[in-house]
C-alpha cells in the first residue's frame, strides 16, 4: 500500500507508516490463520501422534475433501450468494458417472465427462433460476438440495436396484480415472493423497482469479453491491451464474474422488455437508453478506475443520464431541474475524 505512495511522492505525511503486521491484520483470512495456529499448537501439545508426518498427511487429506468445495463456495459467498445443494450435488455427480458407465457398459471416462456436464448444469440451473426469479439463493438452492436428494435415491434404486451404485472397479478406464482422482504420491516416506494437490491448485487458481483478473473484480463487485456493479457495466447475471457453475465444477472434482476412492457411492450421502463448506468459508473470513473474503481463507477454514476432525481422534477423545467443537470454533472464528476487521478498519 505504502509502496505506491512512495513511488509517486517521496512521503505522504498523512499515511502513518503501516507496519507489515498491521497490514496483515487487514486481510480477511487473518482471523482464521490465528485460529488455525492456536488449534495446531493445542492438538500438538495434547497428542504426540498429531505432529507425525503420516498423521499430518491424513489431516491434510481430510481438509482437502472439504477444502476443494470450500474454494467454490468461498467465491460464491464473496459474490453474495449461498448454495445449499452442494453436499448432495457432489453425490449426484458421482452417481451420474458410475451409473451411466455401468448401465451402458461404457468406458468410465465417458461417465466422468458426463458427470462434469451434469455438475456444471446443476450450477447453471441454480444460477439461472436465481437470476430469473430474483428469489433469495437460500430458497432456490434449498429446493435444488431437496430435489437432488430425491433424485439421487430414486434414480439409483430405479436403475441399479439398490441404495448404492453398483461397483465399477472392473470397468474400462477405472484404473486411469482412479490414478487421477484418488491415488497418492509418496513424499519423504509419507503417502499424500492427490486431492491435497488438487485442492492447493484450485486455491491458487481461485486466488489468482479473484485478485488479479477482471472476473475477480466483478465477483467482489456483484457481492458488494450488485446494482452499482450493473450500473458501471459489469455483467452481473453472467458473473453469478458463472460462480454457481464454478461451485458445480468443484463438486464434480470431489464427486469423482468419492467415486474412485471406493468403487461405489451411497445414494443417501452428502446431506449436511453443504454446511461444512459454508462453515469453512465463514471461518475463513468470507462475509455472509458478500463482497469480502478470500479463497485462501476458505482453505484455512477447511484446514481448521480437518485438524479438529482428526485431532480429536489422535487425542483419543470420543468423536461424539466433534460437532460441538466445530460449532464453538465457528462462533469463535467469526467473532475474531469481526474484531480483527473492525480494528483493521480503524487504523
Amino acid at each position: 500500500m505504502t509502496q505506491v505512495a512512495v513511488q509517486l511522492k517521496p512521503v505522504d505525511e498523512r499515511i502513518a507508516r503501516q507496519n507489515p503486521f498491521q497490514k496483515l491484520l487487514g486481510r480477511p483470512e487473518v482471523g482464521a490463520l490465528v485460529g488455525a495456529i492456536v488449534l495446531f499448537i493445542f492438538f500438538a501439545s495434547v497428542s504426540q501422534t498429531f505432529i507425525q508426518p503420516a498423521s499430518f498427511a491424513t489431516v491434510l487429506y481430510g481438509s482437502s475433501t472439504i477444502g476443494i468445495m470450500a474454494v467454490g463456495v468461498s467465491l460464491l459467498m464473496i459474490g453474495g450468494e449461498f448454495d445449499l445443494s452442494t453436499g448432495v450435488a457432489v453425490i449426484s455427480s458421482a452417481l451420474t458417472a458410475s451409473m451411466f458407465s455401468w448401465y451402458f457398459s461404457m468406458n468410465v471416462w465417458v461417465g466422468v465427462v458426463l458427470a462434469l456436464l451434469v455438475s456444471l448444469g446443476i450450477g447453471f440451473i441454480n444460477g439461472w433460476i436465481l437470476m430469473k426469479t430474483k428469489l433469495p439463493s437460500f430458497i432456490v438452492t434449498l429446493a435444488t438440495f431437496l430435489m437432488l436428494t430425491g433424485l439421487n435415491l430414486g434414480l439409483t434404486r430405479m436403475i441399479g436396484g439398490g441404495v448404492s451404485s453398483p461397483s465399477i472397479s472392473n470397468m474400462d478406464g477405472y484404473k486411469s480415472a482412479q490414478a487421477v482422482f484418488s491415488s497418492s504420491v509418496t513424499i519423504g516416506g509419507v503417502a499424500v493423497n492427490n486431492t491435497v494437490f488438487i485442492w492447493i491448485a484450485l486455491v491458487a487458481l481461485a486466488s489468482w482469479v479473484l485478485l488479479r483478473t477482471k472476473v475477480g473484480n466483478w465477483i467482489f463487485a456483484v457481492g458488494g453491491d450488485a446494482n452499482a456493479a450493473r450500473a458501471v457495466g459489469v455483467p452481473v447475471k453472467a458473473t453469478k451464474i458463472g460462480l454457481f457453475m464454478a461451485v458445480g465444477f468443484c463438486g464434480w472434482v470431489l464427486g469423482m474422488h468419492n467415486l474412485f476412492a471406493f468403487d461405489a457411492v451411497q445414494s443417501g450421502e452428502g446431506v449436511g455437508n453443504e454446511f461444512l463448506y459454508i462453515i469453512a468459508a465463514v471461518i475463513g473470513g468470507c462475509l455472509l453478506t458478500g463482497g469480502y473474503g478470500s479463497a485462501v481463507g476458505g482453505a484455512i477454514g477447511a484446514f481448521i475443520f480437518g485438524m479438529a476432525n482428526k485431532g480429536i481422534v489422535y487425542a483419543q477423545w470420543n468423536p461424539d464431541w466433534f460437532k460441538f467443537f466445530l460449532g464453538l470454533m465457528l462462533l469463535l472464528a467469526t467473532i475474531v474475524n469481526l474484531i480483527v476487521k473492525r480494528r483493521a478498519e480503524l487504523k
Binding site: F220, A221, V232, G233, G291
Partner: protein, 311 residues
C-alpha cells in the same frame, strides 16, 4: 469563466431549437415519455446536450428527474418520443449500451462498491488487462498509478488508492465517480443530485468538478433540486414538475430569482408561510418566507426577458 465566455457564445449562436433539430446535438430528447403501467412518470420532455455545455434538470421530489436519467443511462426504455445521439435515434437496452455510446452516469448512490479499494472501483467494468487468452490478468500497478494520477488531475489528493472507497467522504466519492467517467472517455456526463447530501463547502468542490468536466469538452447533465447550485454552472435549464416539462431556458433568458420562482411556485410558498405562522413558528423564518413570497410575486408580475421556449 471569462476565458470560456467566447467559446460559450459561439456555441450558443450555432444552437437552434432542438425541435427543429437543424444542428446536430451531442444528445437530444424529443417528446420523450415513460409510463409504468397506468402511471405516467414522464411525458413530452424535450432537451439537448452539447459539448462543453451544462444542461441542468431541475425539479422537486417526484418530478420525474430520476426517470429521465434512467432513460438516458439505459436502465429504463422510453415509451414515447425519440432519444438521439449525434442525430442518430437510439434506444438503450442496458447501461452497457449507454456507456458504449459515451454516456456515463454518476448516480446519487454513486454506483461504487463500498468495501472495494478505490482503484478497483475506478476501473470496475473497464479493467485494464495484459496477457493472452485465459492468462489475461489485470495490470494492477498501472491501474493504481492511473487512478492516483487522474484523481490528482481533478484536484483530488488521495492518501492511498488501496483504501476501501466507503471510507471516503461523500464529496470525495462524487469526485472519484466524476473522474472515472471523464477518464473513460465519456462524452455525456449525467450527474444525479451530486450535491444533495453534501455540506456547503463540499458542494462547492463538486460544482467546481462539474465545470472542470465541462471545460474538458464534455456535455454535462446536472440534475438537482437546488437552483442555487444549478444557476452558477448551468447553460440551459429544464424544469420538470409532476413528470412534465414546465420550462426550458437558456441562461441569458433567465435570472436566478426567476428560476427559483419557477421551481417553487409562488402559491406554494405563500401557503407555507401561512402554515408556519399558524404553527407559531419562529418569526424570523416566517419573515424570510414572506420575503421570498414577495419576490416570487414580483417576478411573476414582471416576466421581463424570461421567455420559455416551449412549455
Amino acid at each position: 469563466m471569462n476565458s470560456e465566455a467566447i467559446d460559450q457564445q459561439t456555441l450558443l449562436k450555432n444552437e437552434k431549437d432542438p425541435l427543429t433539430h437543424t444542428p446536430v446535438h451531442l444528445l437530444s430528447l424529443e417528446g420523450v415519455g415513460k409510463h409504468y403501467g397506468n402511471i405516467v412518470a414522464l411525458r413530452d420532455v424535450t432537451m439537448a446536450v452539447d459539448n462543453g455545455r451544462v444542461t441542468c434538470v431541475l425539479g422537486d421530489n417526484g418530478a420525474g428527474k430520476s426517470t429521465l436519467i434512467k432513460i438516458i443511462a439505459g436502465l429504463h426504455q422510453h415509451d414515447e418520443g425519440t432519444l438521439n445521439i449525434m442525430g442518430e435515434e437510439r434506444k438503450f437496452n442496458s447501461p452497457r449500451d449507454a456507456l458504449d455510446a459515451g454516456i456515463a452516469t454518476v448516480y446519487q448512490d454513486l454506483a461504487v462498491v463500498p468495501l472495494m479499494p478505490i482503484w478497483r472501483n475506478f476501473f470496475l467494468g473497464s479493467e485494464l488487462t495484459s496477457g493472452f487468452g485465459p492468462f489475461k490478468s489485470m495490470d494492477v500497478q498501472k491501474m493504481k498509478d492511473i487512478t492516483k494520477k487522474e484523481l490528482a488531475e481533478m484536484g483530488i489528493d488521495l492518501r492511498d488508492v488501496e483504501q476501501p472507497i466507503g471510507q471516503l467522504s461523500g464529496g470525495e466519492r462524487q469526485c472519484v465517480a466524476i473522474a472515472r467517467a471523464v477518464y473513460f472517455g465519456a462524452k455525456v456526463l449525467i450527474l444525479d443530485e451530486p450535491t444533495a447530501a453534501l455540506g456547503v463547502k463540499q458542494s462547492g468542490v463538486v460544482l467546481r468538478y462539474i465545470l472542470q468536466a465541462r471545460d474538458r469538452g464534455l456535455g454535462v447533465i446536472f440534475i438537482t433540486h437546488n437552483p442555487h447550485h444549478a444557476f452558477p454552472v448551468g447553460d440551459r435549464f429544464l424544469l420538470l414538475k409532476r413528470g412534465k416539462s414546465i420550462g426550458y431556458y437558456d441562461k441569458k433568458d433567465i435570472s436566478l430569482d426567476e428560476l427559483t420562482a419557477q421551481m417553487a411556485g409562488g402559491a406554494e410558498l405563500a401557503e407555507l408561510a401561512h402554515e408556519l405562522e399558524q404553527l407559531g413558528g419562529h418569526s424570523d423564518v416566517i419573515k424570510e418566507v414572506q420575503a421570498e413570497v414577495a419576490d416570487v410575486a414580483y417576478s411573476a408580475e414582471t416576466p421581463g426577458n424570461s421567455s420559455p421556449r416551449h412549455v
